[in-house]
């Protein structure tokens, strides 16, 4: 069974701090997605990475796909209260319909 472990599980930081969330697996994925879920809402896609070593930036968020396509990280610079939410990584294997979701990182940014 493919598993995606995220760390940390919970993170509470002050506005302006930097943070990194990790998503690790022993399996190789064709692509990896990051979603953010706010309370009372469904997850919303932030980014998809498909190439080993790929780095994508979305304003203050930087996403990296590991060289071996088994892991990924999300770095947030100068966190803001609007970044508060549940961050989920999801791995996909080519030829299947399945997305394997990580266990989630719940981030709270305090003003």
């Amino acid at each position: 069974t493919q598993l995606l472990e995220q760390s940390p599980q919970f993170l509470s930081i002050q506005e302006g701090e930097n943070l990194t969330v990790y998503c690790n697996s022993s399996s190789v994925f064709s692509s990896l997605q990051w979603y953010r879920q706010e309370p009372g809402e469904g997850p919303v896609l932030l980014v998809t990475v498909v190439t080993g070593g790929e780095v994508k930036k979305l304003k203050r968020l930087t996403f990296q796909f590991g060289d071996a396509r088994k892991d990924s990280s999300l770095h947030i610079t100068a966190a803001q209260p609007g970044d508060t939410g549940l961050y989920l990584c999801a791995g996909h294997t080519s030829g299947t319909y399945k997305y394997i979701f990580g266990t989630g990182t719940r981030l709270k940014v305090l003003a």
Binding site: T1, L4, E41, A90
Partner: protein, 113 residues
């Protein structure tokens, strides 16, 4: 705007009741999914459908069934609800078979007493 709509945001049912969760998407997507979300476990796939009347079991199909009679509608059925099915249920759709973005509904929180 793309939209996935789940019919009920909150439901409370009793053990043994039959439960229907409805999901409608307006994007003409081929693929639709039902996930269950529990704290610390992430999202786990219950069933998915890649075409009308086609369905495939996900990782945790036991106790659930699905129906897809029309392209835009995907229903999750709990034939006899049990307390361990208390959870948040998320419906999603996607256009592409591989690497496509999943569009989620707002979720249906089911409590089984």
């Amino acid at each position: 705007d793309v939209k996935v709509t789940q019919s009920s945001r909150y439901l409370v049912k009793r053990t043994g009741e039959k439960v229907f969760l409805e999901c409608v998407q307006d994007m003409d997507h081929e693929n639709m999914f039902w996930y269950r979300q529990d704290p610390g476990l992430g999202l786990r796939l219950i069933y998915f459908s890649y075409d009308v009347k086609m369905k495939e079991k996900g990782d945790i199909p036991e106790g659930y069934s699905v129906s897809r009679e029309k392209k835009e509608r995907f229903s999750l059925i709990l034939e006899s609800a049990s307390t361990n099915q208390t959870s948040m249920y998320l419906c999603a759709s996607s256009l592409f078979r591989n690497t496509g973005e999943l569009f989620f509904g707002e979720g249906s929180r089911l409590t089984v007493l």
